[in-house]
Amino acid sequence: MMDRIAGLGRLGLAIIASFGRSGQFLFGVLAGVPRPATGFPLLVKQLYAVGVLSLAIVVVSGLFIGMVLGLQGYTILSDYGSESAIGQMIALTLVRELGPVVTALLFAGRAGSALTAEIGLMKATEQLSSMEMMGVDPLRRVVAPRLWAGFLAMPVLAMIFSVVGIWGGMLVGVEWLGVFEGSFWGNMQSSVDFVDDVLNGFIKSVVFGFVCAWIAVYQGYDCVPTSAGISSATTKTVVYSSLAVLGLDFVLTAVMFGDF
């Protein structure tokens, strides 16, 4: 009995210690700002790996999600004879919710897991400690460019996701099902507000990008340096990022769109 209570206490302490370590780690990374001359090429390389290579999955899923929204929206709205509201439904859903959230989930699966595995393997093969031996700060050289790349790439991907999704919805709604194109765009423009909808969605994607990149690099840097440790750290990255994104989405939605 006492053993179980002690085990619970140990678990709690470990969780709190992990939060503390990740905070310290974040401070260390942000304090070690990369020098522009050496840091910029590293950042560009990571932006390519994290952002450009995630483009394919983001564009394809955005297209299909937009098309599904168009199809489902048409089926439901045509019952009420208001299928011209399909444009506003697709645009609001994508810009406010699905764009940032689904992109963040895809980003955690596609780029976050790769970041964790890469940094974890560097730790397991003692590349990070040999960097320290050479007097190179691994936080500044390895971790900081990856964190910044995730932070910068995520909003770009989310914006592209929303645009491709709206295009996919237009493809189904206007080209295939025959909704009048003028009322499709007109309804959309009269109901979507730039500051309230587009900018708030953008802020969401910035927050998600930061959280996903932070979790990914921290899990990699903090993993147990064995093959089993790397695999569990990669799993944790995807699970924690997804939970954090969905939980934060609720909080941000309540703050941005809730009337209280």
Binding site: P41, V44, K45, L47, Y48, G51, V52, L55, Y80, S82, A91, V95, A153, P155, V156, L157, M159, I160, S162, V163, I166, W185, M188, Q189, S190, V192, D193, F194, D197, V198, F202
Partner: protein, 149 residues
């Protein structure tokens, strides 16, 4: 060379992101560059504003000529006071025009329609509409009909 082509691709990626944001701003939210349009303020008092909301439209003959800025309660008369900002080029609304709350479609949102009067004088900035017509309340309509009044 490999570094350079990576840089170019990343640059294109960033430009694609900016273009997507521009598309969302201009095409989807209909944000026009000349958003700081000249407007003037008019007021109207209603007994019942129904589901009227700020940022709703004010129209004349079906054309949008302004937006609703705010809706507040007048503490003395217990009426709702609606503040509207009207585009500056529409500066000849006759002074005896009426502000009417209407619903677009059966389930659509409510807006203010200005029915034009015949006065030669026109409303100036800060004026209040003399005659108004409150929102049609379906429940009240039915109860009036049922009680035969």
């Amino acid at each position: 060379m490999a570094q350079r082509s990576t840089e170019i691709i990343v640059g294109l990626f960033m430009i694609a992101g900016l273009a997507a944001l521009m598309f969302l701003a201009l095409q989807v939210s209909g944000l026009s560059p000349k958003s700081a349009e000249q407007t003037y303020t008019l007021y109207a008092n209603f007994n019942d504003t129904g589901g009227l909301t700020p940022r709703g439209k004010v129209s004349m003959a079906g054309v949008t000529v302004g937006t609703i800025e705010s809706i507040t309660l007048d503490r003395d008369t217990f009426q709702a006071r609606v503040t509207m900002s009207i585009h500056a080029e529409v500066d000849n609304i006759p002074a005896d025009s009426a502000a009417v709350i209407r619903t677009s479609g059966l389930l659509g949102e409510q807006y203010i329609d200005i029915s034009i009067g015949g006065d030669l004088e026109s409303l100036n900035a800060g004026d209040t509409f003399y005659s108004t017509q409150s929102a049609m309340n379906l429940e009240r309509l039915i109860s009036n009909f049922a009680s035969g009044r």
